[in-house]
């Protein structure tokens, strides 16, 4: 019962970007994934990447309104990692025998689909932002990513007042949207 409560608290912390919760999850579960990946044709860096992707999947899942986790965190993370690593191996043309592991797994196809859909949108946004050029990129990142106020951005970018910065921000935003929607399928 206590363990279950702990897990709930961890998930709650995770949803709020609490670094302690993230640290606990890394401490408790990363070595399992490291072991699994390095025993199945992968490197330490591969394990790090895969685990981070699993963390993101879990993170985005706990953000959902009616979120439930029907198993232990450990099982969930392992199932995601196993699936992701399997895919990665197949993409590299390395996959031959079934992956060796004794851990139990659950079906996570739906969550992975969600993850991949978001991943595609993420990549489009990333590309769009990166092809904006300066100062647009830094301005929009300052506003959206680092949540800076218009006044602060105005002084950082040398605009005479917040209104000028705001105008510039909207100009940049319109360009970003154009770039984004050029690749993003609205019909989907």
């Amino acid at each position: 019962m206590k363990a279950e409560l702990n897990e709930q608290a961890l998930l709650k912390g995770l949803a709020q970007n609490d670094s302690k919760a993230v640290e606990t999850l890394y401490k408790s579960h990363f070595s399992m994934i490291q072991h699994f990946v390095t025993n199945n044709n992968g490197s330490f860096d591969d394990a790090r990447d895969i685990f981070q992707e699993a963390m993101i999947t879990l993170y985005e899942k706990v953000q959902l309104e009616h979120f439930t986790l029907s198993c232990q965190i450990k099982t969930y993370l392992f199932s995601i990692c196993k699936n992701l690593w399997l895919k990665r191996l197949q993409q590299m043309g390395k996959y031959s025998a079934p992956l060796s592991s004794q851990e139990e797994t659950i079906s996570v196809e739906e969550d992975l689909d969600q993850f991949e859909k978001k991943d595609a949108a993420f990549a489009i946004m990333d590309r769009a932002l990166n092809s904006l050029g300066e100062p647009c990129k830094s301005l929009l990142e300052g506003y959206y990513l680092n949540k800076k106020g218009m006044q602060e951005l105005a002084s950082q970018f040398g605009y005479t007042n917040a209104d000028n910065a705001k105008n510039q921000k909207y100009k940049c935003l319109m360009r970003l949207k154009k770039l984004f929607f050029a690749q993003y399928n609205i019909g989907e």
Binding site: N17, S19, V22, E23, Y26, K27, F30, S31, Q34, T38, S43, F44, D45, R48, Q52, M55, I56, Y59, E60, Q63, K118, A121, F122, M125, D126, Y144, L145, K166, N167, Y170, K171, L173, M174, K177, F180, F181, Y184, I186
Partner: protein
């Protein structure tokens, strides 16, 4: 209402930053004008994607921070043998002070020596930067000498072809991918020669004058794929004062030459952030030679030296190799090459002689011909 104002209004409408009056007014406008309605829907969608993007980006950053902290604290060892690496860390913490003193004394001596060098051997002003590739005639002469000595081994330079330039290069992927400077490859074709004098045919896969990097692929039946690289390609930038060394082919007799120095500035000529300034005696022919640190990591690629100050050279930062590989992956024509950079830590010896012995088989003399 111009575009910017409209954009602002839509954003305020969606974030609930409007007064009740403004809200009803906007609502009415939205109903009356399908274009505006469409824009609102589009913007809502965009904001949702932006939120996901921002959350994921920030969360990934948090993950990386946590991971690196734990890694630095020795929570996990990248290698399978955990005991040895934790011992190294213990030793490191134990002797940190001594090492720091030794390093600073070493740095001082090196600085003093180079100051003396500067004082006693002032060089003439001219072009301030020299590329380190070898001149044509020298190589031609060298070629003649070699064919004279090794009559039975025929050169792989095609008949009637003229050697035009040369330098050094090194393997980054054991499939036969060799990195060198773009300015080394002034010709149309190239061969590479290993430290034993064995020649291999190579094709120029990629060459970028801006970054001054080029990629060759050894395509020769005599080439036997080497074992895994004995060094890592460093992605992070390196520290000032770090001891470094290079191995290349600056001489005409095709003997591999070792040079030692230290990293003297995080930026290169005129503050160029793509390169490091290093203190090393750099001769023509070192162009494209790898620059290693003590930890079996490749940190840069030699490219040029300053004419004005003896011993000052510039090396392209190793993270540019990751950019290069990404460019290859994004290009339709080159994405199938599947060039992989070794990011995994190599344990290996820290003894310099052993390192040189391990590395030298992965370093090539590069010759371009027309």
């Amino acid at each position: 209402m111009d575009d910017i104002q409209l954009q602002e209004a839509i954003e305020q409408y969606l974030t609930g930053d409007m007064s009740v009056d403004e809200h009803t007014q906007f609502e009415a406008m939205r109903k009356a004008t399908p274009e505006i309605d469409q824009m609102v829907i589009e913007h809502a969608m965009f904001i949702r994607e932006m939120d996901i993007y921002v959350n994921r980006k920030n969360f990934s950053k948090l993950n990386k921070q946590v991971f690196n902290q734990l890694l630095d604290a020795g929570t996990w060892a990248p290698e399978a043998t955990e005991s040895t690496s934790s011992r190294v860390i213990q030793l490191w913490t134990k002797y940190k002070k001594v090492t720091a003193i030794a390093a600073s004394v070493g740095g001082f001596i090196a600085l003093f020596t180079s100051a003396m060098m500067l004082f006693f051997f002032p060089t003439i002003n001219g072009n301030q930067i020299l590329e380190l590739s070898k001149a044509v005639e020298k190589i031609e002469r060298n070629q003649k000498v070699q064919s004279h000595l090794l009559n039975e081994v025929k050169t792989k330079v095609p008949e009637n072809a003229k050697l035009v330039s040369g330098g050094s290069g090194f393997l980054i992927d054991t499939k036969g991918f060799v990195i060198t400077n773009a300015h080394v490859l002034k010709g149309e074709g190239a061969i590479v020669v290993n430290s034993l004098g064995q020649e291999f045919k190579a094709t120029i896969v990629y060459s970028d004058k801006n970054s001054d990097l080029a990629l060759l692929k050894i395509e020769d039946e005599d080439y036997k794929q080497a074992k895994a690289l004995p060094f890592t390609i460093r992605k992070k930038s390196s520290d000032l004062g770090e001891d470094i060394f290079t191995l290349g082919f600056p001489r005409n007799d095709n003997d591999i030459v070792y040079g030692k120095g230290y990293l003297s500035a995080q930026t290169g000529y005129n503050g160029d952030s793509n390169t490091y300034q290093i203190q090393i005696s750099a001769n023509p022919g070192y162009s494209g030679a790898p620059v290693f640190n003590e930890k079996n990591e490749l940190i840069g690629i030699m490219s040029s030296r300053q004419k004005l100050a003896e011993g000052v050279a510039f090396a392209i930062k190793s993270d540019k190799l990751f950019d290069l590989v990404q460019t290859l992956e994004e290009n339709e024509l080159t994405k199938d090459l599947n060039v992989k950079l070794n990011k995994q830590k190599v344990k290996g010896s820290k003894n310099r002689k052993a390192q040189i012995n391990n590395f030298k088989n992965y370093i090539y003399s590069v010759r371009a011909f027309n």
